[in-house]
């Protein structure tokens, strides 16, 4: 029976170990974030719920951009047009909402989401049909979408419906639970969980993991890729909406979201080689980056050195990570 108990214990371990192994990176990030928040409280005792709310609103656009990037990266691609798609969808939203009723705004939001899907689908279709590397197609399309944004409005402006703005402002139930955090979680969960459970979700990982094997296993590689890009477009549109929601306007000039989203994705444990990772990691990574910036403000660090620090931290975290991985592969 001792043997039985041993077996039982091994069973339990087998159950936990793989999960921990697969999510080790994200767990590490969460821990790091925890430490950061504690440190923040130490250097700025007055940092409280309103700070948390600011944090939640602040991360929203980049977090959604990172999610968008993560999806396409997991499918083995990369999308350098996310920033432009955000700008485009954001100006469309702000322009159409200006002087319109709250109800109409709902239609606008739905319309913008559809637009996002279309933009993403166009990217995907081009990648699939032309066989041109993803990075080139999306790089080129980043100019196209930015141009479209400028067509919609030459200068920043427009308006956001009241309910849209309130969606991300303030808190929910407790003042420690910012609305925008809820919004983020809901958006990601509602769309991604069903997808990832579906066969399509598996296929996304599959084509990212090994294209030839996926093809030989009878997966419609092209269609899957298209879907992944469409999904990315959808999330990019949501990110664009979050811009409009938090600023109340649309800006035709793309923000610094594209490359930062790539950074966040990698920081979040998604392999740029594709096939691995999730959406939670990148989101945590974005929050970490934001908190670090806040801390540097609290410490009144010279902005130029803040840039240096940001770079070093980016690399530092990854180095520590790769060290940990090396150790594990040795063991």
């Amino acid at each position: 029976m001792t043997a039985a108990s041993v077996v039982a214990r091994r069973r339990a371990l087998d159950a936990v170990a793989p999960w921990a192994r697969r999510n080790g990176w994200t767990l590490g990030l969460v821990g790091f974030l925890g430490l950061l928040l504690v440190y923040t409280k130490l250097i700025q005792p007055s940092y409280d719920s309103s700070g948390i709310q600011g944090l939640a609103i602040g991360v929203l656009p980049l977090a959604l951009a990172a999610v968008a990037q993560a999806v396409v990266v997991m499918s083995g691609g990369i999308d350098l047009s996310i920033g432009s798609m955000m700008a485009f969808t954001s100006v469309v939203c702000a322009t159409m909402m200006k002087g319109q009723s709250q109800e109409f705004a709902v239609v606008v939001v739905l319309g913008v989401l559809v637009l996002g899907i279309v933009l993403g689908a166009v990217n995907g279709a081009l990648v699939v049909l032309t066989k041109v590397p993803d990075i080139v197609v999306t790089l080129a399309m980043s100019f196209v979408w930015a141009g479209c944004a400028l067509l919609v409005r030459a200068a920043p402006g427009g308006a956001a419906a009241e309910w849209l703005r309130n969606l991300v402002l303030g808190s929910f139930i407790s003042e420690w639970i910012p609305k925008s955090a809820i919004v983020l979680i809901v958006i990601v969960a509602v769309i991604w969980i069903p997808v990832s459970r579906s066969r399509m979700g598996l296929s996304i990982y599959a084509i990212g993991s090994n294209r030839l094997a996926a093809f030989r296993s009878g997966i419609p590689v092209g269609r899957t890729k298209l879907f992944a890009y469409a999904l990315t477009g959808l999330y990019a549109a949501l990110a664009g909406l979050s811009l409009t929601a938090s600023t109340g306007i649309g800006t035709p000039v793309p923000g610094p979201y594209t490359l930062m989203s790539v950074a966040a994705v990698v920081l979040g444990g998604v392999s740029l080689a594709g096939g691995r990772g999730g959406l939670f990691g990148p989101i945590v990574a974005v929050v970490v980056l934001q908190v670090i910036r806040t801390d540097m403000t609290f410490l009144s660090i010279d902005s130029n050195y803040a840039y240096v620090a940001q770079g070093l931290i980016l690399v530092g975290v990854l180095m520590v990570g790769s060290f940990a991985l090396m150790r594990r592969s040795r063991a």
Binding site: S50, L55, A154, T247, P256, N304
Partner: protein, 346 residues
């Protein structure tokens, strides 16, 4: 809330100020702006700390930067807005906490915030008027603009178009909406080279520039083309070109002030507000709590003009891409020559 400031050991109230700059890191105008702010802070012992956040980001990013400053409990926030409306949510939160907010170099629509900025519409009008007059009211103008979608650029366009209407015989190339340099030297140089090599340059009689005049003039010189009248901002490099007939023979041009000292002025305004002093707002501004800085135009067509332009080069050896006018009557109290030094301080 700590808006009334904390009472320092010395007795009198002391204040901390936050400064937010949402873009163009390394850009001469923006950096000089921050430096003037630092220089001005040195003038006020009661200001104990100036926290500067200067990074390349968009309106949403600046929004969170300002929120960070609010969370830091500064007494006042001076900022160069990325957008007139976008920052309002954070500005309201600041007002709720009793934090004084001052917008420099461009206005914001938030009612609690004071604006202090160069009148960009006027900037464009002055330049355009001078240019069109130089051309005798007829001819073709190459309209080179800044960054598409940037508020200042949009304001300048408004000014340019109003004057254009008054000169029916002035034609604008490439189109009435002009061409964008993105305020980027390399882009401008390529743009100008292509413009010249395609022969379009030979068909124009004037150039309206938005801050990249130096690069345009250099490109024309490199192509050994005759100069046409050109108007641009008071960037050091451009002004020295105007004052250098040996290297730039026949270059007729005018420089319009677009002072970066708004940074320092913003600090002064913030302090006045913190101390509850009254500020006289500009009448023509068209919005409350606003102080407009009206630009000045100088050209090199007259000796008087040349002399005045020379006078602008008050600080020797200043970086060529930095604006010259380093002080604003009544708003900055530092000695312009101390500005470069104050840049070095973290």
């Amino acid at each position: 809330s700590s808006s009334t400031g904390t009472t320092g050991p010395s007795g009198p109230k002391t204040f901390t100020i936050g400064y937010s700059n949402g873009g163009s890191v390394g850009n001469g105008f923006r950096e000089e702006q921050v430096c003037t702010a630092k220089a001005q802070v040195k003038m006020y012992p009661e200001i104990t700390n100036l926290t500067v956040i200067h990074r390349n980001t968009d309106a949403a990013g600046q929004l969170s930067d300002i929120r960070d400053l609010i969370a830091k409990n500064v007494n006042a926030i001076v900022f160069n807005p990325n957008d007139p409306d976008a920052l309002n949510p954070a500005l309201e939160e600041a007002a709720a906490k009793g934090i004084v907010t001052v917008s420099v170099d461009a206005y914001v629509t938030d009612p609690h915030t004071w604006n202090l900025y160069n009148n960009q519409i006027k900037y464009a009008e002055l330049g355009a008027k001078w240019l069109f007059d130089q051309m005798g009211g007829t001819g073709t103008v190459w309209y080179t603009r800044g960054l598409a979608g940037h508020p200042a650029d949009s304001d300048r366009d408004i000014g340019f178009q109003t004057v254009l209407k008054q000169y029916p015989n002035i034609k604008v190339v490439p189109s009435n909406s002009g061409v964008f340099t993105g305020w980027d030297p390399a882009t401008t140089t390529n743009l100008t080279n292509d413009f010249i090599s395609s022969g379009q340059y030979d068909k124009i009689q004037g150039i309206w520039a938005s801050g990249m005049g130096k690069q345009i003039v250099d490109a024309i010189k490199a192509a050994n083309k005759p100069f046409v009248p050109i108007v641009d901002a008071d960037i050091g490099g451009f002004v020295s070109q105007l004052l250098d007939p040996t290297n730039f023979p026949g270059l007729k041009g005018a420089a319009v002030t677009n002072t970066a000292s708004v940074g320092g002025a913003g600090v002064t305004m913030a302090l006045k507000l913190l101390k509850g002093e009254t500020i006289t707002q500009s009448a023509g501004a068209g919005r409350p709590n606003t102080v407009l800085l009206d630009p000045v135009l100088l050209d090199n067509t007259t000796d008087a003009g040349k002399a005045a332009l020379k006078a602008w080069q008050s600080v020797p050896g200043l970086d060529q891409l930095w604006p010259l006018s380093l002080s604003i009557q009544g708003w900055t109290t530092y000695d312009p020559n101390t500005v470069p030094a104050s840049c070095k301080g973290a």
